[in-house]
Every structure is written in C-alpha cells, then in structure tokens.
C-alpha cells in the first residue's frame, strides 16, 4: 500500500511516497522512506511523530493513504506567549 512520509522545516519541506506491506507501522514507513538519512537531525527517540496532525506512537499501524509526519518542538512557550498577550491588552 502507498503511504506518505513528511517532514518540514521553514526552508525545506519533503513529502515522500513509499510502498509498504499491508501490516506496516509508522516506523516501517519512516525507515522505508530513507528520510532519516536525508535529515540526520531527526531523532525518533525524542521527536514526536503522528498521522495527519494527530500524534501517535511509533508502532502505530498505518492505513493506505496515511501521511506519517515527523514533528519538531515549539520555539515559543505557549504559556509565556499568552502572558505577554494578556499584559499587552
């Protein structure tokens, strides 16, 4: 079955289509895509992954057409950002 593996940074974004066996997990799709060689900064022990904007575990079974996404952490602290906005008002 065909699935996509995606990773995005501000300057470069990739969506790779991979063919994986029926009982594949998110991890097999990521391994099959070779995206880890292209972006050595991805660390699957730390970086969260998900399918279509829903965080999932690395051994999540995947369905045809899924987009397995590798996320990056936030830079801003949402709570601090909220305090700063409240102070401005």
């Amino acid at each position: 079955m065909k699935v996509e593996v995606a990773y995005a940074k501000p300057d470069v974004q990739v969506i790779l289509t991979v063919n994986v066996p029926e009982n594949a997990t998110a991890e097999t799709a990521i391994a099959a895509s070779g995206i880890l060689d292209r972006f050595p900064e991805i660390d699957l022990t730390k970086d969260k992954i998900g399918i279509f904007s829903k965080v999932c575990s690395i051994d999540q079974p995947i369905k045809p057409g899924d987009r397995v996404e590798i996320y990056r952490p936030l830079i801003a602290d949402p709570k601090e950002a909220r305090r700063a906005r409240a102070a401005k008002k």
Binding site: K48, S53, Y71, L74, P78
Partner: protein, 179 residues
C-alpha cells in the same frame, strides 16, 4: 422445451451485451463539470461562495453561479471559462475579491504556539504539525488561499508572493484575443 432453451439463451446473450456496453461506454460523472473544474485554479479558497473549486464547477454547470466569481483564476480564468462554455467573458465580480499574485503562507516559528487552528482551516493539508508541536507550511502544497491567516490567535502567519525560481517558473499564459 426447445422454446424455453432458446429464450434462456437469448436472454443470456442480451444480458452479456448489456453488461459489456455498460462497461465499455461508461460515462464518468458529468464531463462538463470535470472540464470546468480543470480550468479552475484548485486553490479551494472558497472566495466564490462555494466550499471549494469542484462545488463551484458544479454550480456553474447547473447555471447557479456566474463565471466571474473566482479571484485566484483572474481575468484569464474568466476568459477560459467563457471560451469553454461559449458565453461572453465579463470582468471579475468585485464582491468576491480581487486578483492577487500567487502567494504562499509562511509561519513565524518564534511565535507559533502549536494550537492546530491553521491546520484545521487548511483545505489542502499543506500545514504539517500537531498540537503543541511546530506548525510548518509545506510550500509545494500551499495554494495561497489565505484561509489559515485569520484563525491564528498569535497572528504568526503571513502571505508572501511566490518568488520566481527554476522550480516555480512557468511559461507565461498566452494573452487572450481581444484583450
């Protein structure tokens, strides 16, 4: 007895012919809607008042919508639609918006709080991210529809015109006759 066999054989034969022609001469949907949809820019921005390009194409085919309601398509889009449908071209309708250069959304990473509101607004899944994780616009998927700009609670999304590079350069569209 023979008559029963003959009738059965005849019915089986006719059934086969019907089944074959149903497959051979199948009409896939409404071909006019497909042709109109192919002319539309597929930004899925909803400025025409319909929830996407295909619903707008269906409305034009039904006669419920005019051909000048698509600002991203611009004057050239209106002329292409007029050619296709054999009607007179008309200027873009101002109430649906004005024609702008093709843009993509850019997220200011130092402000993004990972709220997913822009992801929910994006009609083409062009934003990669999840709750409490960085959101990033996938430039090659972004249609420049601007639907993600308004929902952002920290105003960290801006639209930037697409720069002309080797990857994005296209042969200019021919100017329509009579312009």
């Amino acid at each position: 007895m023979l008559a029963v066999f003959v009738v059965c054989a005849l019915f089986a034969l006719l059934g086969l012919i019907l089944g074959y022609s149903a497959r051979r001469f199948k009409v896939e949907g409404d071909p006019l809607v497909d042709k109109i949809d192919a002319v539309l820019p597929q930004t899925q921005c909803g400025q025409c008042g319909f929830p996407g390009c295909r619903p707008y194409a269906e409305a034009i085919a039904r006669g419920d919508a005019d051909i000048n309601q698509c600002p991203p398509g611009g004057e050239e889009g209106v002329i292409a639609l007029a050619d296709l449908l054999g009607v007179e071209p008309k200027p873009l309708s101002a109430e649906h918006g004005i024609e702008k250069p093709k843009s993509v959304a850019i997220i200011d990473e130092s402000k993004c709080i990972g709220c997913t509101l822009c992801i929910q607004a994006c009609p083409v899944d062009a934003i990669l991210g999840a709750a409490k994780h960085m959101h990033t616009v996938i430039a090659s998927e972004c249609t420049g529809c601007e639907l993600c700009v308004a929902p952002c609670p920290v105003d960290c999304i801006r639209m930037e015109p697409v720069k002309e590079t080797l990857a994005t350069w296209r042969w200019p569209e021919p100017k329509a006759v009579g312009q």
